[in-house]
């Protein structure tokens, strides 16, 4: 039966006009519009250079549905040859030493910046190469709304809330909120990590060692409290419980909302869906309590990995070796615009960069104004965070309760990973 469906698949593929080649590499990617654009461009170029290699790209959902598909297919040996996935703690949960091919000896690893290698490594071996650029987690704002209302970029949380009050007075939505896509609810908590690190420089270490907790660290709990404050002030859109990620991006881009807390990869969404609005969108780091210590929480890009069970590991390595080059960066810039610094040595920014990226670059250029997000400093991230933050942001649970509940959720993950001290 398997044979028949494979036969039908190949007939259909011929119908679709796919070229027959010596090796077809299967690729599993997330359903982000810009991921698809990037992979299309990279694979097309590679097939031009290597006509004997063709690609079959499969799309999976994002969020926890996607996590599940990736985990299950790896655990059961059914993964595509190549796939993209988060780096950092989510990568650690993939059981990489058993499920992924070792890429330590890939020639282009020499070009990859060490800080990225460390978030796709396990037991001293490197398992991934970067796709996309370093990202900031913070707050998108609409520049036209800011100009019309005479607002300036806030340096403290109090300034931010004061801006929100003025936006609300003007009859616009201060903070676009999109709990229809639950994962977007985590941003105020995750993007606050720069501020946590200022207050408690060793938080990540103590957190991994089961010493520091969200519920008992006032700095760490601030993220949950911010979410609660925004909800209680009524600064969200009326349909915040049902709105989707695409709608949130659109709201801040077209000025229906003044702010949208999000990772800068949302720029890809704007480039794909409403490029004419790109100049209207700006970006700032999530502010803390002290204007003098304002900085950005940074996300590493996702990695591209090869399944250990792939029958075409060598061919797949050839492709990944190509992606991690300057030409690879340039293809990505051409597909989605420049979204932030690449993790490949020698990759440069074009002259013309979007306003939001221009807002973000100074953080990277000054020492001490960035901190990696917690998921890149610690292997543990609780799977229920997005439900917990939805609760706080919908007024179902208080910030303090939520922090305590999240600590319990984290404990499960730490035990599953078999970490010491838990």
């Amino acid at each position: 039966m398997k044979y028949y469906s494979a036969a039908v698949a190949s007939v259909l593929m011929t119908l679709a006009g796919a070229a027959t080649a010596d090796v077809t590499l299967t690729v599993l990617i997330d359903d982000n519009a810009d991921t698809s654009a990037t992979m299309q461009a990279l694979t097309e170029r590679y097939s031009e250079l290597h006509p004997d290699v063709s690609f079959d790209i499969e799309v999976r959902p994002g969020g926890s549905d996607g996590d599940n598909i990736v985990k299950t297919r790896l655990a059961t040996g059914e993964m595509a040859d190549i796939f993209n996935y988060n780096s950092g703690s989510l990568f650690q949960a993939l059981n990489p030493t058993k499920t992924l091919a070792d890429l330590s000896d890939l020639p282009s690893q020499a070009n990859v910046i060490d800080s990225f290698k460390s978030v796709v490594s396990a037991e001293g071996k490197v398992y991934g190469i970067p796709v996309g650029s370093a990202m900031g987690g913070g707050i998108f704002y609409n520049r036209k709304v800011y100009a019309d209302l005479g607002l300036s970029v806030p340096m403290t949380w109090a300034d931010f809330m004061a801006n929100n009050a003025k936006v609300a007075e003007a009859g616009l939505t201060p903070v676009a909120t999109t709990f229809g896509a639950t994962w977007t609810s985590q941003l105020f908590v995750l993007a606050d990590y720069f501020n946590v690190q200022i207050a408690e420089p060793d938080f990540a270490e103590r957190y991994t060692a089961n010493q520091a907790k969200y519920a008992t660290s006032p700095a760490a709990m601030r993220g949950f409290e911010h979410l609660q404050e925004v909800f209680e002030a009524g600064y969200m859109n009326a349909d915040f419980g049902a709105a989707t990620y695409d709608e949130g991006v659109a709201m801040v881009a077209n000025g229906d909302a003044a702010h949208y807390p999000m990772l800068t990869f949302a720029l890809g969404n704007i480039v794909q869906n409403m490029p004419e609005l790109l100049p209207d969108v700006g970006f700032f780091a999530q502010p803390g309590d002290d204007a003098a210590q304002n900085g950005l929480t940074v996300w590493m890009p996702g990695g591209m990995y090869i399944s250990a069970a792939s029958p075409h590991i060598e061919e797949a390595k050839g492709f990944l070796d190509f992606v991690a080059t300057v030409e690879g960066c340039d293809i990505q810039t051409a597909a989605n615009g420049f979204q932030g610094p690449y993790l490949i040595k020698g990759c440069t920014a074009p002259d013309d960069i979007p306003a939001a990226v221009a807002d973000m670059m100074p953080y990277f250029e000054t020492e001490g104004r960035t901190a990696p997000a917690l998921e890149f400093l610690s292997p543990i991230k609780g799977p229920a965070l997005e439900q917990i933050t939805v609760e706080v942001g919908s007024g179902i649970r208080s910030a303090a309760d939520a922090a305590a509940l999240y600590d319990q959720d984290v404990e499960k993950q730490a035990k599953q990973l078999g970490l010491p001290n838990w």
Partner: protein, 286 residues
């Protein structure tokens, strides 16, 4: 030599093998795996820790309650509305045949499709339901975004989808009641209402037992419709056991997820065994 039975037991064998290997073995294995921390490669024995963890989850108690609530609400509505619809659709009304087809149609449609469709219709601001309510001056609630309402809204959609099957079973049950009973009652001067309570309800009992049993079991195990509409949200407010189990599975906590399965099994057995025993006993008494 004894004569072989014309009803050989080996007729049962192929079914028994498939059922045992793919259903009974995993079920029995689940008792073992629920006592381990498991990543599909290695299972490490940890005693009852998964169960402890499961009962420590603050939303588990809520999930347990929700599971029972969802099953009770959906089967109560399917039973009462199904019977009323069946009576209506066998009373010789205008367009009766067409209406039967119509009521049954949602049963055929994919649950995921229904879930997606209604989650759009129930959108708090743009959904057709609230737009229609606003047109007559009512400020519609957040059907799926209000934590107090979400599970109930999903239950209503489940009833919408499943009512056709309940009605069909009742129509079949009504057809098996001899018309003589009604004629005799009419001669005695019984009203419609009396006939309904004294003849229809008692005599359609086998169908009632079937509808309650099927909808309770289905309700306790419900997953598709909840996952398609709320994914257990907002927060954990519409989580049922099946969705909690699935989320643990998603997170890669295979041992914990399997422990949840065992708990769901015990819950279903704990509710259904006494319930079916009671329903069947009453049937015998009559």
């Amino acid at each position: 030599m004894t004569r072989k039975s014309p009803y050989p037991l080996w007729f049962v064998a192929p079914a028994a093998i498939i059922f045992s290997v793919l259903f009974l073995v995993p079920t029995l294995a689940s008792f073992w795996f629920s006592l381990t921390r498991w990543d599909l490669f290695n299972a490490q024995f940890i005693g009852l820790e998964n169960y402890e963890q499961f009962f420590k989850e603050p939303f588990l108690i809520k999930g347990l309650f929700n599971t029972v609530f969802f099953a009770a609400v959906t089967s109560a509505l399917k039973t009462t509305l199904g019977l009323l619809l069946a009576v209506l659709l066998t009373s010789g009304i205008f367009a009766q045949g067409f209406l039967r087809v119509l009521v049954f149609f949602p049963v055929l449609v994919s649950t995921i499709g229904v879930g997606i469709t209604f989650s759009k219709l129930m959108h708090p601001t743009k959904g057709a339901i609230n737009v229609a309510l606003a047109a007559i001056g009512i400020d519609g609630p957040g059907w799926l975004t209000d934590p107090a309402l979400a599970l109930f809204s999903v239950a209503l959609v489940d009833v919408w989808k499943g009512i056709g099957l309940a009605t069909l079973i009742y129509i079949a049950g009504l057809a098996s009641i001899s018309p003589e009973y009604y004629e005799a009652a009419r001669i005695d001067g019984a009203t419609r209402r009396q006939m309904f309570w004294r003849i229809t309800v008692p005599l359609v009992r086998p169908a009632t037992v079937t509808v309650i049993t099927l909808s309770m079991i289905g309700g306790l195990r419900s997953f598709d419709i909840i996952w398609a509409m709320t994914k257990g949200g907002p927060g954990f407010s519409s989580d049922v056991l099946a969705s909690v189990i699935y989320k643990q599975y998603q997170a890669g906590f295979y041992g914990l997820s399997t422990a949840g399965n065992v708990i769901l099994f015990l819950l279903i057995a704990g509710i259904m065994l006494p319930l079916t025993a009671r329903l069947n006993r009453k049937e015998v008494e009559q």
